[in-house]
Each structure stands twice: as C-alpha cells, then as structure tokens.
C-alpha cells in the first residue's frame, strides 16, 4: 500500500482557519496538528504492519462524523484506520413511527409545531414537515426550546408542541424550558420527547458479536453533561479502549492517538481527552434538572427496535406538558423508506456507499432516509466529503 507516514500534506488544505486567536481555545493550531497527525500516522502504520489489518474505531457522535471528514483526518488516516459512524445522530436514530407521529401532530387543528431545523425534511411514511408546512401546517424552526416557550406565551390561543429530539447534551435545555412553562403555569406548551441516551445504545452495540471494534471515540458534548465516569463500563465490562474526545482538529487527533496507545499497550480504559470541557461526573446541575422532569423509558430506535431505559420520557406528574399524553394518536403502521440502509449505517455495519440509493436516488436535495437529511447524518457527510471513495476500498482491511 503506497503511503508516506511522515507526510501530513492533507491537513494544510483541509483545516478551516480558526477564528479563535485566544490561546485557551486555539485547538486548531495548524503546525501542532500536523505534527500530531504525523505521529498518529506513524503509530497507526506500525500497528497496521504488525497486525496486517486496519484499526477499526467507531465515532459514536454525529458531530464527530462531520468533524473527522471536514478536517481531512478521516481521509489522511484511511490507509491504516477504518472509522465507522455510530448511533449518534439524533435525527437518524429516531424511529419511523416517531417521525410519523410528529407529522400527525403537525396536522392537528390549532397546533403549532416547533422544531430544530434538522427535522424539517426527514421523510415520514407519508410526507415530511417541510411539505406539511408548505401545505399550511404551522411549523416553526427554533434554535432553542426557549423560543418555543416564548411562542406559547405570546400566542395563548395555540397549542405549541416542541419536538424534543437529542441526546444528553440537549435534554437539559428542554428540561429547563419545561421548568419555565411549569413555573409560568403555561398550559399550551408541551414536549414530544424522543430523547435518547448514549450509554444504553453503546452497551447494546458492544454486545453485538458481528461488530468488531478496536475502540470508541466517545461523544464529548454528551460527556460534558454525563461526565467521563458514566462511560467507564466500556473498559470495565467490555475491555474496550475508549476516549472522550472533543471536536477541533487537535482534539480528534488526541483522541485517536490515545486509542492507538491503549490498543498497543493492551490496557483498555476510558480516557478523557477533552478535559477542558468534560469533568469526571459531568454537569450535575444540568442532569438534576433533567431528572426532575424526565425518567428513563423503553424506547424504539431506528435499526435497533426497542431498548430498555434508552430514552427519556416525561414523568407522569408532568403529563400536562407531555405531548404524547395530551394528543394521543392512533396511526397506521409506519414503514421505513424502501431500501434505505440507515439502520445498518448507524450501527456501523454498513457504509453509505453500500446503499444502492446513495448519491443516486438519495441526495441531500432528495433524501430517501434521515441519514441523508441531517447535517450530521453519515450519508450527508459522506455525500459532501467522501465521495471519491468506494465501499469496497473503504471496507477492505
């Protein structure tokens, strides 16, 4: 395999210049990144030579999927490193039935649906939110759940439903909004919760004998809330190396570097490579607020079916703010898009290239599945950055 482990040429063109000049945040330092990339390449090449296969790591978080491609790191390390995306794009892991419920809620009279922009074009069994909006439904994109509370306050004649989607990073912001609504006695605000938890799905994936990983790149902003310790089970119960990792070029490289070291030393641990943000026990204040309003529930995931205690549902005492309780729906069965491999892609078992729709009948303009819609979906990311690859090459060891 032709490669030159000391040539970090790609980085110089792939890294966006950082707008941060303040030293505490300059984690895009180009010369440092190049030096670290060269070292990581060296170590990966050594490992590759000894083991005669690529090292396989999973990046659990969708934001990592994008950052690894956008920075050029995925491409630069491809000869020795197979990076698989995991179930960390909230839109992508949302079950088809929940998407159909959102669409049905938007069709109810006097209802305003508020959502993060990512949800708008996710295909339901029949249509999507963007088309429902064009047809007259009141659907508004918000940046923060607090905007949904403000809309409910300003328009008391409307029922305002917020689509609560996201992992541990996002749930505290939704919990805080519910707290505001409860304190204000705001009865026309409710949350449709499809929130998911990272640890239970990781635990599920690691029990799958078909998936053989050498290590996990753990989601830095989930860990900002949960803390590092929350993920300690990965090394303890599964003897798998893992590293909590940030999102700048240096963070990504430091995480991979640490994982290569762990694999080489055969000493699995869950290391914290994002110490400026992630504490041992996370943000206790934020999580306490989550636990005030939510409890773990058995929920459905795309491609994984129901997993116990893997999502967050509103506590019964807050049923008045729970859209599932307030607006019960009886829907015909849901059907995931024909031929869409999202369910396999988000388990790390398929790459977008393996899907017959990819870049043909499925593109960001005409997405067939959610992984092509979300800005951090694996298919959208590969469409934008990785299309010179083909699956045979990418999957070869």
């Amino acid at each position: 395999m032709p490669h030159n482990p000391t040539n970090p040429g790609l980085l110089s063109t792939s890294f966006p210049p950082s707008a941060w000049t303040d030293s505490p945040l300059s984690f895009e330092d180009l010369s440092l990144s190049k030096a670290m990339l060269a070292e990581v390449k060296d170590r990966l090449a050594q490992w590759h030579q000894r083991n005669n296969r690529k090292l396989t790591l999973m990046e659990v978080c969708g934001t990592h999927t994008v950052a690894l491609s956008k920075s050029g790191i995925r491409d630069a390390l491809r000869p020795w490193l197979d990076l698989r995306s995991g179930p960390g794009c909230p839109v992508c892991v949302t079950d088809q039935e929940d998407i159909d419920r959102m669409l049905a809620l938007a069709a109810l009279p006097d209802v305003t649906v508020t959502t993060f922009g990512d949800m708008m074009r996710v295909p339901g069994t029949r249509g999507n939110l963007a088309r429902a909006k064009a047809a007259g439904a009141d659907i508004r994109i918000v940046y923060s759940p607090l905007e949904a509370v403000a809309i409910a306050t300003g328009e008391p004649q409307r029922e305002v439903i917020f689509m609560g989607i996201g992992f541990e990073t996002t749930v505290p912001t939704v919990a805080s909004s519910i707290q505001q609504a409860v304190e204000k006695g705001l009865r026309n605000f409710s949350v449709f919760s499809v929130h998911k938890l990272a640890a239970p799905v990781i635990r599920q994936l690691l029990q799958d004998p078909e998936l053989s990983l050498d290590g996990l790149i753990l989601p830095g902003h989930v860990a900002a809330i949960t803390g590092r310790r929350h993920f300690a089970f990965i090394a303890e119960a599964f003897s798998l190396p893992a590293a909590v990792t940030g999102f700048a070029a240096l963070d990504l490289l430091a995480g991979i570097r640490d994982l290569v070291r762990q694999v080489r030393d055969q000493h699995p641990q869950v290391s914290n490579c994002y110490s400026r943000v992630v504490r041992e026990d996370g943000n206790a204040k934020a999580w306490a607020l989550v636990e005030t309003f939510f409890e773990p529930g058995r929920v459905k995931w795309r491609g994984l079916n129901e997993l116990p205690a893997s999502g967050l549902v509103l506590r019964p005492e807050y049923a008045a703010w729970d859209a599932r309780q307030r607006f019960p729906l009886d829907l015909p069965p849901s059907q995931p898009p024909m031929g869409c491999l999202c369910g396999e892609v988000l388990k790390g078992k398929a790459l977008p290239f393996d899907c017959r729709h990819f870049a043909a009948s499925c593109t960001p303009v005409h997405p067939v599945g959610p992984c092509m819609v979300s800005g951090e979906g694996t298919c959208a990311t590969y469409y934008k950055y990785e299309r010179r690859e083909n699956s045979a090459h990418a999957l070869s060891h």
């Binding site: 970090p8 707008a19 941060w20 303040d22 030293s23 505490p24 945040l25 300059s26 984690f27 330092d29 010369s31 440092l32 190049k34 030096a35 670290m36 060269a38 070292e39 978080c61 969708g62 934001t63 960390g88 794009c89 909230p90 839109v91 993060f116 990512d118 940046y143 923060s144 759940p145 607090l146 905007e147 989607i165 996201g166 992992f167 990073t169 996002t170 505290p172 912001t173 805080s176 989601p219 902003h221 989930v222 900002a224 809330i225 999102f247 240096l250 430091a254 110490s275 400026r276 943000v277 943000n283 204040k285 934020a286 607020l289 979300s374 951090e376």
Partner: protein, 75 residues
Amino acid sequence: MCLAIPAKVVDILNDTIVEVETFGNRAQVNTSLVEGLKQNDYVLVHAGFAIEILDVQAASESLALWREIYAAQPN
C-alpha cells in the same frame, strides 16, 4: 445536533442571562444549567444555553504539553 460552540462571557445581564461573544458575534444565552459563571469565563453554548464552563487551565495545560512533545519534531 450535539454541536456546541465555545464563547466568551462579555456581560452578565441578570441571574439567568449573559451576553457572550463568539467568532465576533454577540448573543444572549441562558445560564440556568451552570453554576458560578463569571465575566470573562468561556462557556460551551448549545441551543441557547451555556451547558458547561470551560476549564481554561486544563486547556492551556493540554496545549502546553503538546507544544512540548512536538516542538522537537519536524513538520
């Protein structure tokens, strides 16, 4: 969706709102998820909230360590 942006606290407006600056833009963010936020702190902003305070010392320690490790290495 778990994208979170680092920003600097430039003004404390009240008990729950601060003004932050990031990439030259200013925005107001809610601080009810973090404790003990001060002027000039760096925070991580997600969906209109500060979700964590950055540990500037940890940041500069990481950078200093790497600069030391890689200083001797040719680019």
